[in-house]
């Protein structure tokens, strides 16, 4: 089958064309999303002043980038916290192992006394 020719568009490119209802609705949607982002990601663009396709595209670009950046940062932060939590758990586990080794070496009577002593100290602090 012979290739079918698709002509070059003859239309007028006009970024300063008035933004239609669809683009303005897109701006409103993204403004709602922008409001839910932490302030450091806000674009500082006054969305209600947008009139042309160029202005709408500039705002849409800024908010889309901000949403992606906020998400990427949140993912990194969650990973950092998870990693820190893991380290804390590892330290706690190592400490537990040390405690259990000590407990194994002690007698039942000694442990019971030690617990009672801790309880007394706590009660004392509350009062």
């Amino acid at each position: 089958m012979e290739p079918i020719d698709v002509p070059k568009p003859k239309g007028v490119r006009d970024p300063h064309r008035a933004a239609g209802t669809l683009l303005l609705a897109h701006v409103r949607h993204l403004h709602e999303a922008e409001k839910s982002l932490p302030p450091k990601y806000h674009t500082g663009i006054f969305h209600k002043a947008i009139e042309t396709e160029f202005e709408a595209a500039r705002y849409i670009r800024a908010v889309t980038k901000a949403i992606h950046k906020a998400h990427d940062d949140a993912v990194k932060e969650r990973a950092r916290r998870a990693s820190a939590r893991k380290r804390v758990i590892q330290i706690a586990a190592a400490a537990d192992q040390g405690t259990s080794r000590k407990r194994r070496s002690g007698t039942k009577e000694t442990k019971s006394k030690a617990i009672k002593g801790k309880r007394r100290r706590r009660i004392g602090r509350r009062s």
């Binding site: 290739p3 079918i4 698709v6 239309g11 490119r13 239609g20 709602e32 849409i60």
Partner: protein
């Protein structure tokens, strides 16, 4: 299992903007009478403001003709479908397109342009694909209203009771088709490919939970086609505005009036070519090209009633004084399914709307999903499920062997 369905791994949906079936594909009736378009001998007319009957004419232009943008909000579409009649017993006769457009500019001559359609040769890409693969005679917008709520049906199977352009809340337990796929066990893959960050997508605001995983750009889509790396499901968005990017000057390709229709033709051709020319992608991919709504432009087929949705609108939102129960469809739009396993010249007469998109994707890749809207649950599928639960007499990927002779487009730069 038919080999076409057995081979299918990727479904791609390209959704364009605001053109009706008759406006874009109506001329094809002259070539294939099974296509429910328009020929000059047909009697369909609309009355203009002086009560003169006006027939559709093949005089549509690529740009500069439909300005102002024809009204396609709920009250205007109601006028277009019912010729301005209100109350019980009215009939959907598709007689109000000129009346509606006349309201906007009070210009008799200009109002008649809403009845213009494209000649076949004007749209070499869309018409070739319609003739060479499967064209849907009865694919309707989900709502007789504007873009946002109609696109919501393509992503969620409902608009959550919205009939307008305002932001909507995603109400539990409904999930987007993307969330369903990427949280499934075993996990599936899905992406919304938006044109670039300056064009973006409404869904970037709605689907924050799965950022990056479910978003890509148009250039990534082309690259993924070439390398055979498409996700299970891809939704491709056109460029919605004339703007500057790092690559240079971009031209809107969504075909929304008054954007250039030929720029959209180039976009469709490029999407098709990249799928068609990749040996890793073409045998196992189906491409649906569809428009979100009719954009206020004439069509002669009355939208049918449908089962109510799980949600209904407020009394105020539709602007007609009545709440909308989502119990009838919007105006008919062009829809074409492309695959090398489809017989050339296939014409489908079953009724579809955009809820058919998540219904098809979910049933094909997941087998089903417990929480879908009533509209999605009742929507027909355009690709039968692989598990054999579908009706194989409806299977469109029905050929025993892949077609070798499929069109290729040469895109002028």
């Amino acid at each position: 299992m038919p080999p076409g369905l057995d081979a299918l791994r990727h479904i791609v949906v390209l959704m364009l903007e605001n053109r009706s079936f008759d406006h874009m594909l109506g001329s094809l009736k002259a070539i294939n009478p099974a296509i429910d378009g328009y020929v000059d001998s047909d009697v369909f007319t609309n009355l203009d403001a002086q009560n003169n009957p006006v027939k559709p004419q093949a005089l549509a232009e690529f740009q500069g003709q439909l300005n102002p943008d024809p009204d396609h909000h709920f009250p205007a579409v109601d006028v277009q479908i019912y010729a301005g009649k209100t109350g019980n017993g009215r009939i959907a006769n598709m007689q109000g397109f000129i009346t509606s457009y006349f309201h906007q500019r009070q210009d008799l001559e200009h109002s008649r342009k809403i009845m213009y359609y494209f000649k076949q040769g004007d749209l070499p890409v869309l018409t070739t694909l319609a003739l060479q693969f499967a064209v849907f005679n009865r694919w309707f917008a989900s709502i007789p209203g504007p873009t946002i709520c109609n696109r919501a049906f393509a992503h969620y199977g409902t608009s959550f009771g919205r009939v307008d352009m305002d932001p909507f809340d995603i109400l539990e337990p409904i999930k987007s088709v993307y969330t369903r796929l990427v949280t499934a066990t075993p996990k599936r893959s899905a992406k919304v490919y938006y044109y670039d960050v300056a064009s973006s997508t409404m869904e970037v605001a709605n689907l924050l939970q799965h950022q990056t995983e479910v978003f890509g750009t148009y250039q990534q889509f082309l690259s993924d086609c070439d390398k055979g790396l498409l996700p299970d499901y891809s939704f491709v968005e056109p460029n919605y505005s004339d703007h500057d990017s790092d690559e240079g000057e971009e031209v809107a390709s969504d075909q929304h009036p008054d954007h250039d229709v030929q720029a959209g033709e180039q976009l469709i051709a490029e999407v098709y070519n990249h799928i068609r020319n990749s040996p890793k992608t073409w045998p196992n991919t189906a491409l649906l090209i569809v428009y979100d709504e009719h954009g206020g432009i004439f069509d002669h087929v009355p939208p049918p009633p449908c089962p109510k949705d799980s949600f209904h609108s407020s009394q105020v939102d539709p602007g007609t004084g009545q709440p909308f129960q989502f119990d009838r469809l919007g105006v008919r739009v062009p829809a074409i399914l492309v695959s090398p396993w489809i017989q050339a010249g296939t014409v489908v007469d079953r009724v579809f709307d955009h809820a058919s998109i998540p219904a098809t994707i979910t049933k094909f890749f997941l087998g089903g999903y417990p929480h879908v809207s009533s509209r999605e649950a009742n929507a027909d599928v355009f690709i039968e499920p692989r598990d054999g639960s579908g009706n194989m007499t409806n299977n469109l990927l029905s050929l025993d062997t892949m077609r070798n002779e499929c069109p290729v487009f040469r895109i002028a730069k």
